[in-house]
């Protein structure tokens, strides 16, 4: 009889399966699971919640992102609910060993796919050649992972926009995922290349990826390398910035969104932030799928212990970051105001989700985020912002807030990227390399049109 009792308590948590695609996606994935584990096993003295509550929270994190037992036996360490795909074996092997070495978690065995040759930064090679070839094996792995979940909340896929494997194979796999799991929620996290990027065809790859993801994913979460880089230099005071630092910032943002937090949407039923529910709030309109995360505060570990914050101040900054479209709390343009018509146009949103983690959560005033002027006139009243709270301290920040926003934010960069790609395309530069693998000029044109439409949609918001 005790067995049953256990089953019933561990049920109601929605699990999320992570797909790590390409070099960038795999590196972020490895870092992300480390972040989850670190958070779950944070020193009890540092989290400021009761032991009982802490235990519940830990259990929720683990069962959301990890498997702890199979039908036959219990694992020694939790295994990440993840499928790893890359065309080169190096990175996957590396992160698998790193994970195992921690002794706290590992990747499930035989859920990694890699082969000998990469896609050479050619999106068409990934999408048209590698994608169909690896489809069966990868989809089998995903299916197996899905069968381990009592309640599959959805898929989180991690890729870069610019590369060949992550973006090309990623777009293809997302398409297959949509076919195979038509009722699941799919969130694609994409890393936007530097404006002055190192890969010459990055803009081609990016528009092809984005336009394809826009058709099959439920939401596309954008992380811009330029913004992340600035956060590293100006807020975290890192001198020599490497991929790891950037990935750390990404994972901090992702985790503050994905880790358990409770909404008050259903008055009688306290529910943790189920993936589908957050997406329902943010991206229910099929024309608007781009998400960005703005969070506050961000600082180096050494400064954390010397700082205290008030919620009022944090939220004031965060709101200004939203309307002035700033990626971090430094250098916000305070001249931007809501809807006076005269000044600079503010950053309009369709929906926002606010995640508050830390102390003194009672009685925080979030009404400034539900101002009707922030949103188009046609949304239903009071449905602009959803608030999720978690009293447990996250990543040693006494108080921290993250805003996942479906707003005009990424449109500037998107427009810039389309422009650059179009310039290259009008002289048909490098197009033959894509045609070689079966992509046609028409496919390019389709992508341009799709994204132009996205830009136009957001501009009329």
């Amino acid at each position: 009889m005790f067995l049953i009792v256990l089953i019933l308590t561990s049920s109601c948590i929605m699990s999320i399966i992570t797909l790590q695609l390409g070099q960038c996606g795999n590196q972020i994935g490895g870092e992300l699971f480390t972040t989850f584990i670190k958070d779950a096993h944070a020193k009890p003295s540092n989290v400021q919640v009761s032991a009982n509550r802490n235990e519940q929270y830990t259990e929720e994190v683990i069962s959301k992102f990890f498997t702890t037992e199979s039908q036959s036996d219990k694992f020694d360490v939790p295994q990440a609910r993840a499928v790893l795909v890359d065309m080169e074996p190096k990175v996957i092997a590396q992160i698998c060993t790193e994970a195992k070495r921690t002794g706290k978690w590992m990747y499930p065995e035989k859920q990694q796919f890699s082969q000998k040759r990469g896609s050479g930064n050619n999106w068409a090679h990934g999408f048209c050649v590698h994608g169909p070839r690896v489809k069966e094996k990868v989809m089998n792995m995903i299916q197996q992972e899905a069968e381990k979940c009592d309640n599959l909340g959805g898929f989180l896929s991690l890729t870069s926009l610019a590369g060949g494997t992550g973006s090309g194979v990623g777009a293809y796999v997302t398409q297959c995922l949509r076919d195979e799991f038509p009722n699941s929620f799919i969130l694609n996290q994409v890393v936007w290349p530097y404006h002055t990027g190192e890969v010459i065809v990055q803009n081609y790859n990016a528009i092809l990826t984005l336009s394809h993801l826009y058709q099959s994913a439920d939401a596309v979460l954008v992380m811009e390398n330029d913004h992340l880089h600035r956060i590293c230099t100006q807020l975290l005071n890192i001198k020599k910035i490497g991929f790891k630092d950037i990935n750390n910032v990404i994972c901090h943002k992702l985790a503050s969104f994905l880790l358990p937090a409770v909404t008050q949407k259903y008055t009688d039923h306290r529910r943790s932030n189920a993936f589908g529910e957050v997406l329902e709030h943010l991206v229910s309109h099929p024309d608007y799928k781009l998400l960005t995360i703005k969070n506050i505060p961000q600082m180096s570990d050494t400064s954390k212990q010397f700082c205290t914050y008030q919620w009022h101040g944090l939220l004031k900054h965060l709101r200004q970051m939203l309307i002035a479209d700033a990626s971090m709390e430094e250098g916000i343009d305070w001249q931007v105001h809501l809807g006076d018509g005269s000044g600079i146009k503010h950053n309009q949103s369709l929906a926002n989700a606010l995640f508050l983690r830390g102390k003194d959560l009672d009685g925080i005033d979030v009404s400034s985020f539900s101002d009707p002027k922030l949103y188009p006139s046609w949304i239903l009243p009071n449905t602009g912002v959803a608030v999720y709270k978690q009293p447990r301290i996250f990543n040693d920040y006494e108080k921290s807030a993250a805003l996942v926003t479906n707003s005009r934010s990424p449109i500037g960069s998107l427009n810039h990227m389309i422009g650059k790609a179009w310039n290259m395309f009008s002289s048909r530069a490098y197009v033959y390399q894509y045609e070689k693998h079966g992509l046609t000029e028409e496919d390019f044109l389709d992508s341009f049109v799709t994204l132009e439409q996205v830009v136009a949609n957001y501009n009329t918001l």
Partner: protein, 459 residues
């Protein structure tokens, strides 16, 4: 006669226990003598029983109906339904709609309904152990609050342009889709967990028809404090069943008494009245007003159609004769294949257009899953057919029907049926796709500057 009174009291008790408004046994006696005091309660009771027959339960809709419907509306509704059921009494149809007289006719109608529709048996079927119901029934109280719809209607009527309204509807539609997907996820989770509970409780059972505990039983084992509530429910159920049993034993007394009512009616109806009534035609309530005109029109249409097609048929026959000599075997086969395909397509379309396939009759009821494990060591002569797989889930009564739970269906046949359905849908989808593409092309031609790009999925 004292016994009669007891039996009628028992009947009123049973009716009361199954949700009707309280009615006194005295009403029945008054009705026998055609007293007017009994008229209104009997109309009410008839209305409630008809509602029960239609919906399988008596809930607050009935109470609202009493306050919202006029007496005339209610009387006509009841008469109409009774005629639909086949109660074609002339005197009943002639009862005044203001509910002032005619209690004896009503009593007879009531008895007829009780008898022909097996209402008492249906009450009995409704009595089932509360433990059989699953956990969600038990906890539903908290979820029943209807959401505030005034907020929604307010914003929808707000001042928005057409484009904005479309945007809003698109978003609402999206929200609905996402919610449905969440619901789907929860549903499959529930099934999985239920399966695990059934599997891990194999061999422990409280009832004969399954070999494991139900979710409800496991829940009660975890929360013994709820046992008291369940016990109360069980006791109440027991009492109801007891009453029903008593009724079964003694109902002949009631029917005998009803015979005396009928006799009385025949006796009291004097010859002159009888004649007068006979001359009055019966009022039919379920016939549309302009039926004769429609029938004439239909007849004319039919005649015209026959005339029109006669010549065509002749022409076709001639053609057939000439063609038959000309056509070769393979040509014929190709033609036949094409025709078959067309017919299959048309049939699929017809099937889909038939709305009833999607409408749930009565209340929706969750499928009840029971795990059967075929144990090789146990050679039971199970009534249920042996299955090839070791584990078979059986779905009981996917749709709640008034007749209670259906016989268990093998999941394989369900799958086969669904596959068939899927096939039909595919045919229909491809047909529709073709249609829409053509339409899209037509539309695109009208806007010269537009580039029309088909979504990736249709290519």
């Amino acid at each position: 006669m004292a016994q009669v009174r007891e039996v009628i009291e028992l009947l009123t008790k049973i009716l009361r226990e199954n949700g009707t408004t309280k009615i006194k046994a005295e009403i029945f006696r008054l009705a026998k003598f055609d007293k007017d005091e009994a008229v209104v309660p009997l109309w009410k009771l008839l209305f409630e029983l008809i509602y029960f027959l239609e919906n399988g339960t008596i809930d607050d809709v009935v109470i609202r109906a009493f306050s919202q419907l006029t007496t005339e509306e209610m009387a006509i509704y009841v008469k109409q339904k009774m005629q639909n059921y086949g109660f074609l009494s002339r005197s009943f149809s002639l009862l005044p709609n203001d509910m002032l007289t005619g209690s004896r006719e009503l009593l007879l109608a009531l008895a007829w309904l009780l008898c022909t529709k097996n209402i008492i048996e249906k009450f009995m079927e409704k009595c089932s152990s509360p433990i059989d119901d699953d956990i969600y029934e038990f906890q539903r109280d908290g979820l029943d609050q209807s959401t505030n719809s005034s907020q929604l209607s307010h914003s929808l009527t707000g001042k928005l342009t057409a484009v904005q309204k479309v945007q809003q509807l698109q978003q609402l539609n999206g929200k609905l889709r996402f919610s449905l997907r969440q619901l789907y996820a929860l549903q499959s989770e529930r099934t999985r967990i239920q399966h695990r509970i059934h599997e891990s409780t194999q061999g422990v059972s409280l009832s004969g028809d399954k070999k494991h505990l139900s979710v409800m039983e496991v829940y009660l084992l975890r929360n013994p404090e709820h046992l008291k509530k369940i016990l109360r429910l069980l006791e109440k159920d027991n009492e109801r069943l007891q009453n029903l049993l008593h009724w079964k034993e003694q109902e002949d007394v009631f029917w005998k008494w009803m015979e005396s009512v009928l006799d009385m009616r025949l006796k009291n109806l004097s010859q002159s009245e009888q004649e007068e009534r006979d001359t009055k035609p019966m009022v039919h309530y379920n016939i549309p007003p302009d039926i004769i005109g429609q029938m004439h029109a239909a007849r004319k249409n039919l005649e015209a159609a026959i005339m029109k097609y006669e010549s065509i048929i002749e022409h076709l026959e001639e053609l057939w004769e000439t063609k038959r000599r000309a056509i070769t075997e393979p040509e014929l086969n190709n033609l036949l294949a094409a025709i078959n395909e067309e017919i299959a397509y048309q049939r699929a379309t017809l099937g889909i257009d038939h709305e009833d396939g999607f409408r749930y009759e009565g209340r929706y009821q969750e499928p009840r899953l029971v795990l059967f494990k075929n144990d090789p060591s146990m050679k039971s002569t199970n009534l249920r057919q042996q299955r090839s797989e070791s584990n078979t889930l059986q779905a009981f009564g996917v749709l709640g029907s008034l007749e209670g739970l259906d016989m268990p269906t093998d999941i394989q046949t369900e799958i086969a049926a669904l596959e068939k359905y899927l096939h039909r849908m595919e045919i229909e989808a491809s047909g529709k796709q073709r249609g829409y593409l053509a339409e899209l092309d037509k539309l695109a031609e009208r806007i010269p500057d537009a580039i029309c790009i088909q979504p990736k999925t249709v290519r």
